[in-house]
């Protein structure tokens, strides 16, 4: 295990803040549309269903991570459970996936600018600026990124809270009710996007090697998950309640479309810049987060001393992938809504439990 420099350690609170702020990107992007498509007007109950499944997953994760030693993250745990060779192969696959994931997310982020604000623009400038900014942050220190996430998260929550309050006047309860037993299937399917968001925390486990182990480890993510549930429910109430499930399911950026129509007291309007600020901050953190993890895995695989060149390299490859990944937003939407969540869900809810079971079977945990 390579030595961890003191200035690169973070607290579990900071790790949670980083994961939580990063998952606001998929929250705004995926959440209103997919649950509305699956569950209709009952979509706002999907986060509660996801929270129940998420609580079980976090309980499992806590049991798993209780067995980690100080300075161990998912990389080291994979080596321990599967053996050095297989563990490193798994970590390498994760790094490759994160580089690809970052590339697609970067392109999706750029396309969203074009479909909502800068119609008929080119994605190049958005990919370049966002890629450079997030790549720079990923190549910097983990502690700085975590602190940045704490600050940005506070701003994101503040803006979300304000936007939610302003949008309440637009919400029609009739668009959210009634909820019938027949909606249960849709509600459960609608929970999948939120579980996909929570899977971001599975990648965050790679960074646990920088987190000082405490007896309370694993409790904090539960509190964050409850906050995520509240935020997700609020987003669904404001979008489906204002625009109806029938419209939301056909929109590309329902959250943005609804925000665009908010008028406060008749003189504050067109506040969508706040939302753009939200998603720029969340996209920035998500990209920096995945590139930093990918860089960290690559550094460990190569036995390097500094994460910086590996994270910068991961960002560079992702940026190139963002240019090459697709030339139309329809394909990207399918990839971002179905392909990528499927892999993330498999990583969090299949791979991690499988790793745990193999580790237990081999007597390594």
């Amino acid at each position: 295990m390579s030595a961890i420099q003191g200035h690169d350690t973070i607290s579990e609170r900071q790790l949670c803040a980083l994961c939580f702020a990063a998952l606001f990107s998929p929250l705004i992007r995926l959440l209103p549309r997919l649950p509305a498509a699956f569950a209709g007007r009952a979509a706002w109950l999907s986060p509660l269903a996801a929270a129940a499944a998420g609580a079980l997953w976090l309980a499992f994760l806590r049991a798993f991570l209780r067995r980690r030693a100080e300075g161990e993250g998912l990389f080291e745990l994979a080596e321990r459970c599967l053996g050095p060779a297989a563990g490193r192969v798994l970590a390498a696959l994760c790094a490759l996936w994160l580089v690809f994931y970052g590339g697609v997310m970067l392109r999706v982020s750029a396309e969203r600018f074009l479909s909502t604000i800068y119609a008929n623009g080119r994605p190049t400038v958005f990919i370049a600026v966002m890629g450079a900014a997030a790549g720079w942050a990923a190549a910097g220190g983990l502690r700085q990124l975590a602190r940045t996430a704490e600050v940005l998260l506070a701003l994101i929550l503040l803006a979300m809270g304000a936007v939610f309050l302003f949008s309440l006047t637009e919400v029609e309860p009739a668009r959210l009710l009634p909820v019938k037993p027949g909606d249960a299937g849709g509600i459960l399917l609608g929970a999948l996007p939120m579980l996909d968001m929570m899977s971001v925390y599975a990648y965050g486990v790679f960074l646990l090697r920088y987190v000082k182990k405490t007896p309370e480890e694993g409790r904090r993510p539960v509190r964050w998950m409850l906050l995520l549930t509240a935020a997700a429910t609020a987003v669904l109430v404001m979008t489906v309640g204002a625009a109806s499930a029938e419209l939301v399911k056909d929109m590309q950026s329902p959250f943005f479309l609804v925000i665009r129509s908010i008028a406060v007291l008749g003189f504050i309007e067109r506040i969508e810049a706040v939302v753009v600020g939200l998603w720029v901050a969340a996209d920035f953190l998500l990209l920096a987060f995945v590139w930093l993890i990918a860089g960290d895995i690559l550094k460990l695989l190569a036995g390097g001393r500094s994460r910086r060149p590996f994270a910068a390299g991961a960002a560079a490859v992702s940026i190139a992938a963002a240019f090459a990944v697709a030339d139309n937003a329809f394909f990207l939407r399918k990839a971002a809504e179905y392909g990528i969540p499927a892999v993330n869900l498999a990583a969090a809810f299949v791979l991690l439990p499988a790793l745990f079971l193999v580790g237990r079977a081999r007597g390594k945990l």
Binding site: W136, T148, A245, E246, M251
Partner: protein, 385 residues
């Protein structure tokens, strides 16, 4: 070093949001270089879509500017307006209302709603008006004068119509949501004062003309004024309305508000017997004829009964029209499903809840709760009378 790096990252991200003036596209304009459009009129013409853009009354009270163009589609027409060199850039981001001529509305609104939802500048919260027996272009042109514009009149209607009790201005989002979920929706209709006897000033006015009923994406008909008032009451869109009610000892001008309908499906045996639609109104006395003893409970009850009977007629007329058209634009079935998600919901899921064939019982109850400052009217006859 770190602070500098953070600063550079912050500036780069701010540029992406377009907030930082220059933005990545550097298309910043001074407000003097902009022509802010407040109302867009849409008509059907030989070329496809005729668009009339209205700026509203200028800040110094000058008459509004109207811009007209025609193109095969709405987006092409707006683009054409933009491309006509006027030295100013058209801004549609603050469009408050869309006015659609009757012919265009009968041909179908789906394309216009689609554009408004899709366009990055427009908002789904934009109010929609349908011009009854006329075109949007004529309406906007007739109202344009020194200190007056259709844009300002429609904005006034949008904010004040709830105090008139005769309608409600639904937005593009409301209409699209209604059409998508129930297959029908209401939109506020407007018209110019008709007839030869009206004054010039009246001729340049926009007035509410009841609700327009939209079905399958197009205008299907209009509600009469009484039906529209009944519909507004049922839908809880009446903040204030006035009516003169009579009791034995005299008459009173009442100001009342409705609380919206309460719908209950009533089942007999295993099948639906009827829908019970109830609305409660509260009234206050604004003016009373001499001799009316408002302090007497029976007088207040009589006034309330008169009010309730007449409002019941209006509400029942709106329901009857909905049933006659076979369109649940009042949302009675949706409301019944909320009241009885399992039994009535099952009916709806089976497609067996047809508004056209079910029995609907409408009841409006009223209560005269208060008067303003004076209880019983002053006696003007002195003590000897």
């Amino acid at each position: 070093m770190k602070i500098r790096a953070l600063f550079i990252i912050g500036v780069a991200l701010a540029l992406l949001t377009g907030c930082a003036g220059a933005g990545v596209f550097a298309d910043y304009r001074e407000v003097e270089q902009l022509e802010i459009i407040r109302t867009i009129g849409i008509d059907k013409g030989p070329e496809g879509v005729t668009v009339t853009a209205d700026t509203g009354v200028e800040e110094d009270g000058r008459a509004p500017k109207l811009f007209r163009t025609a193109a095969p589609t709405l987006s092409a027409a707006l683009e054409q307006l933009q491309e006509t060199p006027r030295g100013r850039r058209m801004v549609f981001a603050h469009t408050e209302q869309v006015v659609i001529g009757e012919t265009a509305a009968r041909a179908g609104l789906a394309g216009y709603l689609d554009y408004i939802e899709r366009a990055t500048e427009m908002r789904i919260g934009t109010g929609v008006f349908i011009v009854r027996d006329g075109t949007a272009e004529d309406l906007l042109a007739a109202c344009a004068g020194e200190g007056s514009s259709a844009a300002d009149m429609l904005l006034f209607l949008k904010t004040e119509i709830r105090n008139m009790g005769c309608g409600f201005v639904y937005t593009c989002g409301d209409i699209a949501a209604g059409l998508a979920s129930e297959g029908c929706a209401l939109a506020q209709a407007v018209e110019r004062a008709p007839g030869e006897t009206v004054t010039e000033e009246e001729r340049a006015m926009v007035r509410p003309a009841g609700f327009a009923v939209l079905a399958e994406g197009a205008l299907a008909g209009y509600l009469t004024e009484e039906e529209s008032r009944g519909a507004a009451l049922l839908l809880g869109k009446v903040e204030r309305d006035d009516m003169t009610a009579a009791a034995e000892s005299g008459t009173a001008a009442l100001s009342f508000r409705g609380a919206g309908m309460r719908v209950r499906p009533l089942f007999l045996g295993g099948s639906l017997d009827r829908l019970s639609v109830a609305v409660r109104t509260e009234a206050a006395v604004k003016e009373a004829s001499e001799g009316l003893t408002l302090t007497a409970a029976e007088t207040r009850r009589a006034l309330a009964q008169d009010l309730a009977a007449r409002e019941t007629e209006r509400a029942a007329a709106a329901v009857a029209r909905s049933q006659a058209m076979g369109l649940d634009f009042l949302g009675l079935c949706a409301a019944a499903e909320r009241a009885s998600p399992l039994r009535f919901g099952a009916l709806r899921d089976r497609g067996a809840a047809d508004i056209g064939t079910m029995t609907v019982e409408v009841t409006v109850s009223a209560a005269v709760r208060r008067t303003f400052d004076v209880a019983d009217p002053f006696s003007v006859r002195g003590k000897g009378a």
